[in-house]
């Protein structure tokens, strides 16, 4: 029971169980779910249209053609979808779990509190839908581009996607954990999420402080630009740094989460 393998098996089993529970819960809220999926689909369409509107007047932005920009959009959606499918419950942490003291629920269960928290929305279909839509957009864009897709390249691309998803999850966890100090951080989360949206543009267009911010501080460049740039233009320094940044940020976020829980337990739920 206490061997690492036993623990792993136990958590995997619980994850499967709770995913099933989450799906069944969605069935009872079908209308909510459909609205959510519709909203995401619409967002994709509108984003593509926005690109279309701008490219009506120019042929390239900082050297990126319309197809390339659409590919970037698709990659960003895919990464975001992967994250969305597993960490959506963090929004609740930022929104109200600390403020209303409801977090105690996760502290009196015999599993890791963060797992317990995330498990309420595992394999969230909205996220999976977003990832699938992202793949479709990538497919559309790739159709008009001459991409070199050998297996090694695809493996690196997959690693970059994973690193991007980690970055997304870590930033979300960091911001949600702010709520431990500010009681709620939903507005920050929403604001930064909007910011992640606008960071779907080629990194080359930004002034250097923004570039630094998007790679070093809130590395949203890793969630879209870096994988897409690799696919289009081959490896760069950021390609190799991305997994490191993703890992470091995740470690930091986990540390802040546990500090936050400790604070929550000190000031009282």
């Amino acid at each position: 029971m206490t061997t690492p393998r036993g623990t792993l098996r136990r958590y995997a089993g619980l994850a499967v169980l709770l995913t099933g529970v989450g799906l069944r819960r969605l069935v009872s809220y079908r209308s909510d779910f459909l609205v959510g999926v519709g909203a995401f689909a619409l967002r994709v369409v509108l984003h593509a249209l926005l690109l279309g509107v701008i490219y009506r007047h120019v042929t390239d932005i900082a050297g990126w053609t319309f197809r390339e920009a659409v590919l970037l959009l698709g990659v960003a959606m895919l990464v975001r979808g992967i994250d969305h499918a597993f960490t959506d419950q963090l929004w609740e942490l930022g929104r109200k779990l600390v403020q209303r003291g409801e977090l105690v629920r996760y502290l009196v269960r015999p599993v890791h509190p963060l797992f317990s928290l995330l498990s309420e929305r595992f394999c969230y279909p909205e996220g999976i839908g977003e990832a699938v839509a992202g793949l479709a957009v990538i497919g559309y864009a790739a159709g008009g581009l001459d991409l070199d897709l050998d297996p090694a390249r695809l493996v690196v691309f997959a690693v970059l996607l994973l690193a991007g998803a980690l970055v997304f999850a870590a930033v979300k966890l960091l911001l949600a954990a702010l709520a431990f100090w500010t009681t709620t951080s939903l507005q920050v989360m929403t604001a930064v999420y909007e910011l992640a949206d606008t960071a779907r543009y080629p990194l080359d267009v930004f002034p250097w402080p923004a570039r630094l911010l998007l790679t070093g501080v809130l590395p949203f460049a890793l969630t879209g630009f870096v994988p897409a740039d690799y696919l289009l233009h081959g490896p760069s320094l950021l390609t190799w740094l991305a997994p490191l940044i993703g890992g470091a940020l995740t470690a930091l976020a986990l540390r802040v989460w546990s500090l936050g829980v400790r604070r929550f337990e000190a000031v009282g739920p």
């Binding site: 136990r10 089993g13 529970v21 105690v104 629920r105 015999p110 009282g268 739920p269």
Partner: protein, 339 residues
């Protein structure tokens, strides 16, 4: 089973913003805090298998203590052990050992039916399938789940939900059950149902129970021992029946036949019994005698009136817990922010 030793807890709260617009603007820049001493050296023990009530007025530190014992709040100083373990030493082991209900804060899966919550709890706690099934049947019967089994928890009435909460806290057969205000907001019948649920399961399993409440009915229905806190300190511990004996006043009601002047009669009894005793004529041929327990006993009252009237009825009711507690809360009770 539960040991608390010199627990203290001080909360720092942001001072209330001053009234008015200017006060609100100043609130923008100030960071004044006030200290609230919720626990001021609380020590007590609860032996295994005993059901103990943790009593006190609002803000006396009851919930704070329960949260510390549940491991979701760290004490400022002092320490405690539950089931032989510091609550925060091993969260998982502690979570398996205790079941806890925090008043109105739900621990069920809000959007799922109760049965589904039970299924998840069984898996979270790795209950053997046989035990899980037995528990499911037990609570199915106790909660009368038949009609509500498939309804999401959030659509249940408060009474149904509260019982479901307690059942969920008991589902993994914990050795210790912590209940924080389990009957708050419930009517008499629903309170009885909660009492029955706790008594049935806890008594059968020998679960150690610590229950906070300011409702006397909860205590006398469930617990045999009491710990009384006031202003963050324990002011009394002991068995319930002993506590009742510590009542500061005793009452004897007397009915008699015969014609005497009620005022003179009352005066006579007062003289016979001694000074702090009060005697009030209560309706036709009836008096109520009240005073310290050593002065006001049925025997002494009877002796005092013998020869004057013929006694037709003599009642010496048990003191209520409420009366006893009121006397125990020695300190004046300022408004304290309970958390």
């Amino acid at each position: 089973m539960i040991e608390a030793h010199e627990l203290t807890k001080v909360f720092r709260m942001r001072a209330d913003t001053r009234p008015g617009l200017w006060g609100a603007v100043r609130g923008l820049f100030s960071a004044e805090t006030t200290e609230v001493r919720a626990l001021d050296g609380v020590s007590f023990t609860v032996p295994a298998g005993e059901r103990t009530a943790y009593l006190g007025v609002n803000g006396a530190g009851k919930s704070t203590t329960i949260k510390i014992l549940a491991g979701v709040l760290t004490p400022g100083s002092g320490h405690c052990r539950v089931d032989g373990r510091e609550p925060r030493a091993d969260r998982n082991a502690h979570a398996r050992a205790i079941g806890v209900v925090f008043g109105h804060r739900t621990q069920l899966w809000w959007d799922l039916p109760v049965t589904e919550s039970f299924r998840i709890l069984a898996r979270l706690h790795d209950l053997p399938p046989a035990l899980a099934e037995a528990n499911r049947l037990l609570f199915d019967e106790l909660l009368d789940l038949g009609e509500i089994a498939d309804r999401p928890v959030r659509t249940l009435s408060l009474g149904q939900r509260m019982r479901a909460e307690i059942a969920a806290a008991l589902f993994h057969a914990p050795r210790v059950l912590l209940l924080d205000e389990p009957t708050i907001g419930l009517d008499l019948l629903l309170k009885d149902a909660v009492h029955e649920l706790v008594n049935r399961v806890a008594r059968e399993r020998g679960t150690t129970v610590l229950l906070t409440s300011h409702d006397v009915a909860d205590i006398s229905a469930i617990c045999e021992r009491v710990v009384v806190v006031d202003a963050g300190r324990v002011v009394h511990t002991g068995y319930l029946h002993e506590l009742l004996r510590r009542a500061p006043t005793r009452t004897v009601r007397l009915e008699y036949a015969g014609d005497v002047d009620p005022a003179a009669f009352a005066h006579h009894i007062r003289l016979e019994l001694g000074d702090p005793v009060t005697v009030t004529p209560a309706g036709r041929r009836r008096v109520t005698v009240q005073g310290p327990p050593e002065l006001v006993t049925p025997q002494r009252v009877l002796a005092a009136v013998t020869g004057l009237v013929a006694v037709t009825d003599l009642v010496a009711p048990e003191p209520t817990l409420g009366e006893v507690l009121r006397a125990l809360y020695v300190a004046p009770q300022p408004a304290r922010g309970g958390r």
